[in-house]
Point group: D2
Chain length 362, copies 4
């Protein structure tokens, strides 16, 4: 059976490293001394670059990772007795170990459904209407993940409908954009169209999964919500002393549209993977492939064989579900090797024990 090409895997876009452009900026930023805690020129330039990307003035804070970005952003909106409406598959619910509840000192996540991992206006309204008394946390925000945890993408029309509902109900809008770049590449939209023009108050703009070593940007389009946010970051252990090493790579990503090319490449690899897997007998696609992940179901024995052959990927307990992710540097050979390995494994017949499932977030 085909082993993974070199060390590449399809387990997570977190397995990929730092892209060349980001690395070059990291290196450049290492010349000489620089003022600490973000008062350096790299950080100023990176913030300006983000304003350019979104074609608007906004307040930008760089933090270390996605859990912190989402949790801090939500805690800027919610008091402890408030709640956040999100999809039951949202990363803040399934893979941040209660980070949002911790940072906000107790805010509750209210979970809604919706096909293909996407929250619907009807689900938001139903959750909002369910309770209106002081014995239950008061909804204060809707959190959307773009692209979603199952690799789908909210269309501008879907976002507009959600915005209308949120505004009518007096709810703020948060976007977990850990893979915003992939969503943009998928939609062919301008960044502003699916963020502040869609009513997003605060965006967690992901860099790590798209070619950085570390770091996400919390982008406040509604700057009133950013009041004293620098204090919040500092207290929560999210203010880098040598900030330039977090911010400069962002410049590398944003300059010359590197971030868009990275995302488009990851998406293209997912399409190639889907196209190769779907025709195979025994393979069933679970969600539309709109960003950089492919969800399929495979016979348990096939999963076992692929794991035995050295392929790493996440599975769903008992369901035969498999998540495959591509990244900014996934090679065509890696994709093709996985397809070939799957085809080969499907051709064998030995029964196998159930796979162990776990977090998708690795």
């Amino acid at each position: 059976m085909n082993a993974p090409t070199d060390t590449q895997q399809l387990a997570s876009d977190n397995y990929a490293g730092i892209c060349a452009e980001a690395f070059a900026h990291l290196e450049a930023a290492n010349a000489g001394h620089a003022i600490a805690y973000g008062d350096d020129v790299w950080t100023a330039r990176a913030k300006a670059a983000i304003e350019d990307v979104f074609e608007t003035a906004c307040e930008v804070h760089f933090v270390f990772n996605g859990t912190a970005a989402n949790s801090l952003a939500l805690s800027a909106i919610c008091q402890s007795y408030h709640s956040v409406i999100c999809h039951e598959l949202a990363h803040i619910e399934t893979d941040e170990c209660g980070g949002p509840e911790f940072f906000s000192n107790g805010s509750k996540l209210l979970l809604g459904g919706g096909a293909n991992g996407k929250l619907t206006p009807a689900a938001v309204e139903a959750i909002f209407r369910k309770r209106s008394d002081i014995h239950y946390p008061k909804p204060q925000a809707v959190s959307l993940t773009q692209a979603t945890e199952v690799g789908t993408v909210y269309t501008p029309d879907e976002l507009a409908a959600l915005q209308a509902t949120a505004r009518r109900l007096g709810l703020h809008l948060h976007m977990d954009g850990a893979r915003l770049a992939n969503a943009l590449a998928s939609l062919g939209a301008r960044p502003k169209e699916i963020t502040w023009q869609a009513g997003i108050d605060v965006l967690c703009f992901g860099g790590t999964k798209n070619g950085l070593a570390v770091g996400e940007a919390v982008v406040f389009f509604n700057t009133a919500l950013a009041r004293d946010f620098a204090y919040r970051c500092k207290q929560a252990g999210q203010l880098a002393s040598k900030m330039r090493f977090v911010s400069a790579p962002w410049l590398g990503l944003l300059d010359n549209d590197t971030w868009q090319r990275n995302a488009a490449h990851a998406n293209a690899m997912a399409q190639r993977l889907a196209k190769g897997l779907e025709p195979l007998p025994g393979v069933h696609r679970l969600f539309p492939v709109e960003a950089n992940s492919v969800f399929v179901s495979l016979p348990e024995a096939v999963i076992t064989r692929l794991h035995a052959a050295g392929w790493r990927f996440y599975t769903f307990i008992g369901a035969g579900g498999v998540r495959l992710m591509t990244s900014w540097n996934t090679r065509e050979e890696t994709v093709d090797a996985f397809i070939a390995a799957t085809r080969q494994a499907l051709g064998e017949t030995t029964p196998a024990p159930a796979a162990v499932a776990n977090s998708l977030d690795a």
Copy 2:
């Protein structure tokens, strides 16, 4: 249509006042000066009385209400990154406004199902098995409500099965006993049989709903969990300076089995209510009547007419569900008047708008 008898309602056992025996002790405790913060003789006697009730040494702390009792007890078991497995209808989930998450700085409630509001060992195990990675809060406790929020009661056998599962999985057991007295009266069991002998580590023993003005007892059978609990209560604003006025009424309740008679009366009234309502056409019982509440569905028009006639009770949105609760001092006439009013309302035919639903906890 029959109006409520005097001021009695069937909306909540919190509508009832202080029973005579508790009040007498409140009055007696008001003689002279007493040492503050619980170092008084009334408090010592009340703690001893609770040890007598449960026939074991245990550590007892009196706090002001049920939300505090449950939240503090769970925070003594869980760190912020831990989780508590409970039924989706548990009071800690539905009616404490995120208190458990607040007191523990973020612990998550993991919700399970189970017929008649009762968590099953299978549900506990499924939730426990679902995740075992650090990206999701680690289960640390199972919380059971006895009697449940829908007026049912865990049998000793059911508790034994849950204990076995919890012990096997390394989970602590918490019991929300806001209506433990009603459960005991229903089962005819000794208090120890369904608490520490059933593996309960910490019990929140309710007094308010059974005839006190204010106050619940947090009872640690597993005294190791009570380490520094007095500090926890103090910091959380749950240490009464004039503690005797919280503890002395407990003595009134516990002496001479008043608490058991109170609960038995409430249960009997629920039986009378159920017996009167169930034969009526259009009335459907939703849960077994095992404690002091009756859940039925009624036509929306009937609900509206009953509300218009001055009857207060809680409903479920859109479902026609109605919760009726009896208390230690519910009179037979009140029950009979409600039955009569329902019969009368069922006989009318005017269409009515949908009822507004809300918290059950009032």
Copy 3:
């Protein structure tokens, strides 16, 4: 040596019980059923009575004790990265076991000095000016205790000066009024003059020490700060289900100026005590006696003899300091017996071991 008269002590105003007028209302409120969670008529009347006392519209929430009242009020003003400027002897600093830090998820108390337990405008400004960077919690409020922990009282002029400083610096004003009644009786001022007219945004108005069993009122004069405060109370375990038993006694206290008479009596007893003790050789007054406490220093041997004779009171480690408190029902005979006992103890000469000191808050 004279033993304490009956059971009366001078250790704490928390040793006294419930005054007759409050008790009568407690009893009256126990007639029939009442709507839970504060939607009852007693609570409405008590809130209106508080508005009458302060001669202004305001938002009132009843909570269980002073730690909760102060902590919740401050958490309505402060985020976790904010700070509160208070006197180093403030109750929130010395006797609430970190309650303010807990309820606000980390707000820091910044301690200032000032003679006689009173914070000065200069101390407030010095603390405010000391730091203005994001590496230290940002001041958001000044908390004043009226009467102070050492039995002194801020004059209207002192409050006006503090208000001017706070407003200039953009700080909110919180008043811990656990003994506001004693301060008012001392000053002969109208309640409004030393609260909202002095710029107080939120007052914790104490009832427990002045004749209630349990309960303080959080009074928002700046109602914008009270946004969603009912949720905050509920989540924090501070919403009484049978609220009438917390609120009705307040009516008993406020009607017919009972609260003012109670406080005036306590103050008068403190004056009698001070007048009796001060002339004794070996007794030194430590603070002006302006409310209901007397702080003196006594020889250690005298302290030991008084304790041995059954008198309870708090001492300061190694300093020979003694706190004596009078209450709404302290009898003249109790005061006179203590004076006599002290005189007797001063006449003896046996050396004695050092007294053990501890919290003043008992």
Copy 4:
């Protein structure tokens, strides 16, 4: 007047960048894919290297910065109602914006004095003895900073005395070792001698100030305290998805004693600076120079002139105090240029406005 050499400053060791050895490892780690969240080979090797450094088995967790490291370590020891005894100049008190209180949901820092920024056993015991009642947070840990915030170093004898006191009082020992390397270089001690052999339960081992881009290691010598610590890090937003980029540079630092050479160089530059400044008239040394900082007082006019000439450094309000810090890459020319600039400024006489003081932590 001499301007700063190139871009080097003496404001903070956080102004320096990444040392060559760390950078080389960062680059090497960027080859190919790697398992996320710390299950990669770089992280395993870095953990082993730390065990080698301390010559013992221990549990190591890499987090993003010092505030997080200290706050998480202390929250693993303390519940919300506990307290931490530390020096009043400790970084956790003065420069983490309430991080320890936030992560622990309210633990209080109890501040002690001690010459040269060093806590004494007597100060620890006095704070511990001051209160022992439930109205005040219970001491649970002593936190020591090595090297201290004022550039001094605890000797092994001083640590042994503190250990004896802490053990006798039942207190855990935490060490903020943001500049542990500088302390070790100063003492010429083996790492184990001033950490676990000195009774330290948990060490926050700093890398950022000594040549890394980002990252501190939380090192549990008392592994019982590390229970579920991985969950704690994850929830608090301190688990890097691409962990190798945090851990690999640690290897670069630790291999071949780079970290020790870096620290020794910084210390040597501080000695050179002190030696150059101290003879100048008007310059007064404020603390012994034992690590990589020099604290002197200068006339306000001199401070103003140095700032005007482009030199950045921190000052103390009104006191003329100045903190100067050297780093792993401070050049001799930078030091000499500063000395020359100070000499020149001292020779001028124009009066100048007071300098603005602020956090030391930049």
